[in-house]
Symmetry: C2
Subunit: 235 residues, 2 copies
């Protein structure tokens, strides 16, 4: 477990995700994107759903941070919300399993501490990653026994810091005060932002949309062009 | 022909290319990437090879700038070098056919002026795009009857300006002195670079690697991380 975390120290992990209805949806496509990331030097892949985790591990041989995004009527939690979801990721072979570790109620009133206990008992070698949105949730995740904390959800819970870029302040505070390593993830678009996360002491940096969501990359160019066209029309 | 160019005025075109041996190689993958670009607002796609052109047109319905990168022993020219290559692109249905219009010798001692004449005669509705590397080549392309000139090859011929970013100086000079529209293409990585091209008067801006080559995007993050790791080891 520690060897796996050591292997990812100072490295870039690329998140390869596409949702149903999106152009790149499907395990074949995601395995190809993950291979491209590996060819570019990624040390690991973050992937969504047991099918994608299996396909990506088989294709690339890279360690995978597995999640399963699922929606439940009785909870706002959507990253690997239930024990069953978490176990399915472990079963799919993910070396690291990441889950929502915010303070929000989970589906079926499940408790995070129970999920941690069951996974530890059944999959003692799997690394547990806590996706949190505030410093306090990071502290609590360490107390619950997570091996690594990720800043993934800052800005994605209503009570966390809402900002366009990475939450450096929370990242720094977590790095200073936690005993476990901290992964930087969320809203990291540019190389200099990744560098800043490493400079603050991030164990690894996880990049998603900036690499593997061409529709969003296109949108950023198109939005700027549209604004210009509008201004030209008005002028 | 003019309607097609008018449709692309002020717009972002996304270049979707992968080479044999690369993770994203193949028409299925390229059609998916092109669809993602369309979903992000791209107004057109630049594509390589008759197979990709067909797949992308069928998938997206967007206008396609077709090229065919091929290597010949007797020439340095590799973007749609021969008449046969150019005709194959036209046959595949590309609305715009782009070709190397540099001053370098072409394979089989073919002449650009002959290629232009044959395409005009057989495909009178197809827009002809000249990929050039210097201002003088742009002037010559207009003289030869091309409908639009693209800055694609600046930095990719030994005698053209060698620089990391877009060749704004050549772009500006072409826009000022040519009667035909000028497309900005080549080394445009960031939104502000695209904006600057539009501000100078580029008819359209064509983005490639910054959107559709995840291995290169990954590499830029990884290179920075590796530098940091090396410095930490040395310190």
């Amino acid at each position: 477990m520690m060897a796996m975390l050591q292997q990812l120290k100072g490295q870039i992990v690329v998140s390869c995700q596409a949702y149903e209805g999106e152009a790149l949806f499907g395990s074949v496509m995601m395995a190809a994107m993950a291979q491209a990331a590996k060819d570019g030097g990624a040390a690991g892949i973050r992937a969504n759903s047991p099918a994608d985790i299996r396909a990506i591990r088989q294709q690339t041989g890279l360690p995978v941070i597995g999640i399963w995004k699922r929606e439940y009527a009785d909870s706002e939690v959507y990253i690997s919300p239930t024990l069953q979801d978490v176990l399915a990721i472990c079963e799919a072979g993910a070396e690291i399993v990441a889950m929502d570790a915010t303070s929000r109620p989970r589906p079926n009133q499940e408790r995070l501490t129970d999920i941690v206990a069951v996974v530890r008992s059944r999959y003692p070698k799997i690394v547990l990653m806590a996706d949190i949105s505030t410093y306090e949730e990071g502290l609590e995740a360490e107390r619950l026994g997570f091996d690594i904390v990720a800043t993934t959800l800052s800005g994605y819970t209503p009570y966390s810091r809402q900002q366009e870029g990475p939450d450096y302040e929370m990242l720094k505070k977590l790095i200073v005060h936690l005993g476990v390593p901290v992964a930087a993830e969320g809203k990291i678009q540019h190389v200099d932002e990744a560098n800043r996360c490493f400079a603050l002491g991030a164990h690894m940096v996880i990049i998603g949309s900036a690499i593997t969501r061409p529709q969003l990359l296109t949108r950023s160019f198109v939005t700027a062009a549209e604004q210009r066209n509008r201004c030209n029309l008005e002028a």
